[in-house]
Symmetry: C2
């Protein structure tokens, strides 16, 4: 597990950079998934579950982006997943240049899917393309079903919404139906997966969606 | 309940602006508390509980800052608390100029304490002084006890840390002692209040600390 220091890209055209990175990865048959959420929504726990269920096929790797610490990368390595920890030099988001430098520090030999665990933040990451072919947003049950009203851009920019910690539904006022309606109003094509990474509920549907996206990338290669 | 649109201040010296606002409020005997946290940590629920317990003494008002929606301000008004909703024009934080414009839109007659409910974000708000005399950070149990490791600046910049949703402790791997140790390492003077706004546990200690801060401001007036 490596730790690298990143600072904001100087490139003026992050969008162009992101498109270039995306097509380069596609050329290598690699799916990049940009994971965005609040701090503490359960991104790392979800990834550990996916890694255990995938069991090497498709082969996954994780690029952890944080302002400080390497706790997430250590947790991924413990789960047997190749992982690089990127420090963002205080930046509240990842952009395409930072993502590229993170990927360059990884051994991507034989890797089919890379998860970029973006900085925990519902605002800034939604404004910067990373080069990922899929944006996946995580919303945990304890955060509340009003988040689509308060952070609309992230819901609009995402291909999939994973509602985590559904095992905690009995203890919180969170209505899945209400949340889905609010999110679909912003983004009618959004795929929604309610899951409990702890108990395993809903994981199969999410994992099938990810596998289909990997297959699609390899077909287009 | 009003809704106002704010954009980033043009002032070059946000720190000077913040100091000026702070001393003007002090001159009027008003305590401004800057509430910072992740989205969904329970800021609004906590404020509703404090409002019910204070029951008008000290008299409180709330400045809600969000990118979109007025759900929080509506919830505060329903609880009988004077509230203004500020929209931050996509900005991920409040600065002193934005706070000043928000306060100018409020009726502060007879008000002793104003809570600024900052944008839900553990990163950017910690970098901008708002003019508040007290910074209060909220961390909810479902977010995890590793947050001081990952977002150190916010813990360093805060006067008080409120650990919310302690009623959910049996369902999550959150160790209060571990979290306290990690936070105190960054900020030895930090006051820590574990509370359940739902059940009422720990609210008295927090409210006494707030009342003492109001008394102190009025003494210095």
């Amino acid at each position: 597990m490596k730790v690298i220091e990143l600072n904001e890209s100087v490139t003026e055209s992050n969008d162009r950079d992101a498109q270039e990175l995306s097509s380069q990865l596609r050329g290598r048959g690699i799916l990049l998934v940009n994971l965005m959420s609040s701090p503490g929504s359960g991104k790392t726990t979800l990834l550990k579950r996916i890694a255990a269920d995938f069991a090497g096929s498709p082969k996954m790797a994780v690029l952890e982006a944080d302002i400080a610490s390497d706790v997430d990368a250590v947790r991924m390595e413990e789960a047997g997943v190749t992982s690089v920890q990127a420090h963002t030099d205080g930046m509240c988001h990842m952009d395409a240049g930072m993502t590229r430098r993170g990927l360059e520090a990884m051994d991507l030999e034989g890797v089919d899917i890379v998860f970029l665990e973006n900085v925990g933040n519902l605002i800034c990451p939604a404004e910067f393309a990373t080069g990922a072919q899929k944006n996946m947003m995580i919303l945990s049950v304890p955060e509340g079903d009003d988040k689509p009203l308060k952070y609309p851009l992230m819901f609009s920019e995402s291909d999939a919404l994973v509602i985590t910690k559904t095992d905690a539904l009995p203890y919180f006022d969170f209505d899945i139906r209400t949340c889905e309606e609010r999110a679909k109003k912003l983004n009618p094509g959004l795929r929604i997966f309610p899951v409990s990474a702890k108990a395993g509920d809903g994981m199969k549907e999410l994992e099938e969606w990810l596998k289909a996206a990997v297959t699609e990338i390899k077909r287009e290669k």
